[in-house]
Symmetry: C2
Subunit: 318 residues, 2 copies
């Protein structure tokens, strides 16, 4: 039997209960949210599995590949906390490795982990280790904040904005899979993405209450906002920020670059929606307005409804 990742989890989770009234958000947003005195705690976890999220042979193209992977493990969870407007604080790492392993690779991996934890001031306070036939790294991250944003708060009339540029990561992954590195900075964006922790906290402080991160794809994650908020989103493709590197990769074709930007995953940029009165504040944090929230359902690019698809670890494109 095969079910996609999202359907499987909601199917299996239907018998689980929430017992504490402090749990404000359980499964279903970027992190869980638990009220903790006069602040909120955020809980999230992410996994990187060999042959699913990465291939060991990428190290032949990227000598310090495991260093990047260590950084990435922390970044993808930090991005979840960022999209709630929280600060990452404590983490636990599970390390599953084959019985015979390369200690130098693991040291590189932990070098990346510790560097990023030092940058974000995350204390690693625990973990578990086991052998396994598939190299598997998981991270549990606890964040904190005075307030929080959700996917489900978008309202008609809101503007939609994103941080950074989109599509770079997918174009980086493509090069790794083809084993033909033409534009290395895009590969670096895939291997070494940035979590937008500062932007998340600051945009939340401005009063923005709707946010998620681009993990699956811009279109896919716009759909998660649209569906959970019960609204539609219209995007103007000419406003989607693209990097010079991506345009170099597509030999100047904006149309080709947009395919990566709309349907490629793992950019870990933030998407926010907000009332127009907050526009100058949001823009001053480096966000680019790409569209608006309207009544209805679905995601529209240049007034054409687009399919909800992106990267699905259970079956490639979804």
């Amino acid at each position: 039997m095969k079910l996609d990742e999202f359907s499987l989890i909601s199917f299996l989770s239907r018998k689980l209960s929430i017992f504490q009234p402090e749990v404000l958000i359980g499964i279903g947003d970027d992190t869980a949210v638990v009220k903790n005195g006069n602040k909120y705690s955020f809980y999230t976890t992410d996994v990187l599995v060999e042959n699913v999220h990465f291939l060991d042979n990428w190290k032949s193209n990227v000598p310090d590949f495991y260093y990047f992977l260590g950084r990435k493990l922390i970044t993808i969870s930090a991005s979840d906390v960022a999209s709630m407007g929280g600060m990452p604080v404590y983490g636990l790492i599970n390390l599953l490795i084959p019985e015979v392993y390369d200690l130098k690779e693991l040291e590189e991996f932990y070098e990346g982990v510790s560097e990023l934890c030092n940058e974000l001031r995350i204390s690693v306070i625990g973990g578990d280790t086991s052998k396994s036939s598939a190299k598997t790294f998981s991270f549990f991250l606890i964040g904190e904040g005075k307030k929080f944003m959700l996917r489900s708060n978008a309202k008609p009339g809101d503007l939609v904005a994103v941080t950074g540029t989109l599509g770079d990561s997918a174009a980086g992954l493509e090069q790794l899979l083809k084993k033909e590195i033409k534009v290395f900075p895009l590969v670096e964006r895939f291997l070494n993405p940035t979590s937008r922790v500062r932007e998340g906290v600051e945009v939340s402080n401005l009063g923005v209450i709707t946010c998620t991160d681009v993990s699956d794809s811009l279109v896919f994650n716009l759909y998660t906002i649209a569906e959970s908020s019960g609204i539609a989103i219209k995007v103007d493709s000419k406003n989607i920020p693209l990097s010079p590197h991506l345009l170099t990769y597509t030999t100047g074709s904006r149309e080709k670059a947009l395919r990566y930007a709309l349907y490629g995953g793992e950019d870990y940029e933030l998407i926010v929606t907000f009332e127009e009165s907050l526009l100058s504040g949001v823009e001053s944090l480096g966000f680019t307005v790409i569209g608006e929230v309207v009544e209805g359902e679905g995601v529209f690019v240049d007034n054409k409804k687009v399919e909800k698809k992106g990267y699905n670890h259970f079956g490639g494109e979804r």
Copy 2:
């Protein structure tokens, strides 16, 4: 390169830092301990990996095997929180499964998970899912308490006591590995152990400050107390509680049964040490005194120093 689990983790973790003064205990006890207002939060994680912690073919001997495995995943983390004297509160599950899987097995697994979470009132608030060549289940558990116990608080003159009976789980595992089930209740102890949450909280309330759980083996875990407290422990083997089932399995031989009790893992009973003035209180909670803390180093059974060994997922016996 091969390093055992404990050496590897301490080697790799040496570059990680603790940034928050609220972190009272990081890596190195049964859970991390973080001060949280006027209470403490406990963080722990455990992993069950196919072909390391369980074999898929055990389901031919135990029809509802995945139901038991779901219960066990929660129990082993709850046992860590129990050994701090805390109550488990929130959990996140990571589910890694092959691309093609048996949905009925997963439903059974979640049936076990949800049943145990309901028993212990644990709210499952998140998780991640991915495909993987090895079935892998990880649980991340957050507990809370007003005080906490550590491995490192044992003092010469303390008595040493344990909950329940020891060795059952190892004798259960042996039967599964031999595919010859003689005494099923022992198999059940291995598949469906009990976390001693109530005993942990109550013994901590009595004033006991030294505790750990028997995950690796009685001797191994006594060593973790002895080493971290800088003391020695003397055990009187005639006082080690053995179950009638284990004695049936060893056809009445107490000597054979003691080998399982001393060196078998995964009993998830609690070990405490405490001042003699607390004796009647500790005994009234169902603990059995098995020895005493003395000056020196090492663990002694019937006055003979024993080797630090138990079950090590990295290489069988350790």
